[in-house]
């Protein structure tokens, strides 16, 4: 499946969102990624968040705070985003395994400093936010109503290579 790094953003304003919240263990009995689709963020503890609402259904980019994806190593967490069309996460920081799982699947787990994350969150006041990521130039273009902002992001050469290759299996198979 080709990965798309742009679209409407949803903002999850909390630190330490864990993989049990992203995809509860009771759904880990599925043996296809596709079967996970209905359960994205089902147990997320965040006031006002509706896991069945239109906002999450339409989202293609998630913007959030610190230590996103902590807890279990389950790759079902990136997969549930993947099958719902969310191939880009932008956070202040990640748990290591979740971050690696995103890049291993050819998806983006972009890290931005706190001031940029704050600026992205602030953009919501102007209306619904659309985000477009250019991996080559390492730029995030965010638009809300008439307003727009651009953010530079850092990405390791390895992570970039994984995104270009389509994931770690492709990269490793070609090299080892």
């Amino acid at each position: 499946m080709e990965k798309i790094f742009k679209g409407p953003a949803i903002f999850l304003d909390r630190n330490d969102i864990n993989t049990d919240e992203i995809i509860p263990a009771r759904y880990l009995t599925e043996v296809t990624k596709e079967a996970l689709r209905p359960y994205m963020l089902e147990d997320l503890k965040l006031e006002g968040f509706d896991p069945t609402g239109d906002e999450i259904k339409n989202a293609r980019v998630v913007v959030t705070r610190e230590n996103f994806g902590c807890g279990s190593s389950r790759e079902h967490a990136p997969w549930v985003f993947e099958v719902n069309g969310v191939h880009t996460i932008i956070a202040q920081s990640y748990a290591r395994i979740f971050r690696q799982n995103m890049f291993n699947g050819g998806m983006l787990a972009i890290e931005l400093p706190e001031k940029d994350i704050d600026a992205l969150f602030a953009l919501q006041e102007k209306g619904s936010v659309c985000i477009d990521v250019d991996v080559d130039t390492q730029l995030i273009h965010a638009r809300a109503g008439e307003d727009s902002s651009e953010f530079h992001f850092e990405i390791s050469e390895f992570d970039k290579a994984l995104v270009k290759a389509g994931g770690w299996v492709e990269f490793a198979d070609a090299r080892y």
Binding site: G71, S72, Y94, R96, Q100, Y176
Partner: protein, 426 residues
């Protein structure tokens, strides 16, 4: 400049550095269970690459839901079972011989000092107790591990955690690690190795060290790690006795993995644990921790003793000693899951199972089951569980349920009274 144990293991296993800062390591052990492995197997089949890099270095177990509870879990078990058979894995553990992976694999002697270990399970950091670099990974890393025997990591920084003082009676390694996590925070050790050292670790059994390393991931660490010493060598002796003339030679050999005195650390944290109280989590994050005294009196519906954190024989002994001659409160369901068949059997021989049963505990087969709300003790909405496991996330043990993490001693005392209780007050 000297090296840390993690740096020494990285240097000894380096296969490739495709980019500056990215280390691709050769793997000594690729561990597999039935929840995260089947999708890797299916993907390898789909790619026409259904192969294993070395059948002797891949170990597999069915542990999360076992015996299978429904068609879906039966299919997961079938997928890993069929795969293990067609690749003739000598170390595959099916129903009857299976136990919780992070208790079973060390017990079989598979994990050695200086090893690199991955598994599609975040609590793989447990195996760092043996002086191994052991990291939880996702299914894609697992898949590449199975196929190629390698895994990529960033060069880890190390946080040295010096544990000093004397633990008071009734205070255990679970209390220590909860306290360390509370200090570091759930993201405090991200991308770092937590190196546990000092007299408190030196005095710990391998079981206690495994409990310590097991929860390193709850501070975000890539791995927890202890220096391999005489206690490590004694634990492993049945498996390594042909490799060394005597125990002292093994201990001496293990020293090559010890961190150098002039090794560089990202951070060094000293804990004096002499005044440490038993610890209990509150809220939905493992870094929300309070002394048991501040949590005392909170009503629980279930007490769960087991898991890769605290389902080992020492844990059962501690709990049984408290439960002996007492009974579980009427309002409480007690559930014990010995972590492996060997532990179960040993607990029977020692009379511990009888004590648990007479106290009113339900004793299940070895499985991860209730810890992550998959089977054998799922909570109803609004229910509260006192648990010896490692995660208290929202919904972890069942949608709408609440989990308080604690030591086996505190859990046993809580089972008797029905409210969170300091075992030292009974």
């Amino acid at each position: 400049m000297g090296k840390t144990i993690a740096e020494k293991i990285f240097a000894a296993h380096l296969r490739d550095e495709p980019f500056a800062g990215t280390k691709v390591l050769n793997l000594d052990c690729v561990l597999c269970h039935e929840i995260t492995t089947p999708i890797a197997i299916a993907d390898l089949e789909w790619r026409g690459k259904d192969r294993v890099f070395d059948k002797n270095k891949i170990k597999a177990v069915i542990d999360h839901v076992t015996p299978s509870k429904d068609t879906k879990t039966a299919i997961q078990a079938q997928m890993i079972r069929d795969w293990a058979r067609r690749h003739e894995l000598p170390d595959f553990f099916d129903v009857g011989r299976n136990g919780v992976c992070h208790a079973l694999f060390p017990e079989k002697g598979f994990i050695r000092p200086g090893f690199t270990v991955i598994m599609g399970d975040s609590h793989t950091c447990t195996h760092g107790a043996f002086g191994a670099f052991a990291a939880g990974v996702g299914t894609t890393d697992l898949e590449v591990g199975i196929l190629k025997g390698v895994c990529a990591f960033r060069q880890p920084a190390t946080i040295r955690v010096n544990l000093r003082g004397n633990l008071a009676d009734g205070v255990y390694s679970k209390d220590v690690i909860l306290h360390v996590i509370a200090t570091l925070g759930v993201g405090g050790a991200t991308d770092a190795v937590l190196e546990f050292a000092g007299p408190v670790v030196d005095a710990m059994s391998m079981e206690a060290r495994m409990t310590l390393c097991n929860m390193a991931i709850e501070a975000g660490a890539t791995c927890g790690i202890c220096m391999p010493d005489v206690i490590t060598a004694e634990y492993l002796w049945p498996f390594i006795q042909d490799e060394y003339p005597n125990l002292e030679a093994a201990v001496e050999d293990f020293r090559r993995w010890h961190s150098d005195a002039d090794a560089e650390y990202k951070q060094i944290i000293d804990f004096d644990l002499s005044d440490l109280e038993p610890q209990v989590t509150c809220d939905f994050k493992p870094d929300c921790v309070k002394p048991v005294g501040e949590m005392a009196g909170i009503k629980v519906d279930q007490v769960y003793i087991g898991t890769c954190t605290n389902g080992r024989i020492e844990d059962l002994r501690v709990a049984a000693k408290i439960l002996d001659g007492r009974t579980v409160a009427d309002s409480v369901r007690g559930v014990l899951s010995p972590a492996t068949p060997k532990i179960f059997s040993q607990a029977m021989e020692e009379g511990l199972i009888q004590i648990f049963m007479q106290a009113g505990f339900c004793v299940t087969n070895p499985t991860c089951g209730a810890c992550l709300g998959m089977s054998n003790g799922v909570l109803a909405p609004g229910e509260v569980c006192a648990s010896t496991s490692n995660r208290n996330f929202n919904g972890r043990m069942g949608k709408g349920g609440m989990v308080h993490l604690m030591s086996p001693a505190t859990a046993a005392a809580t089972a008797i009274t029905g409210v969170i209780t300091d075992a030292r007050t009974l």
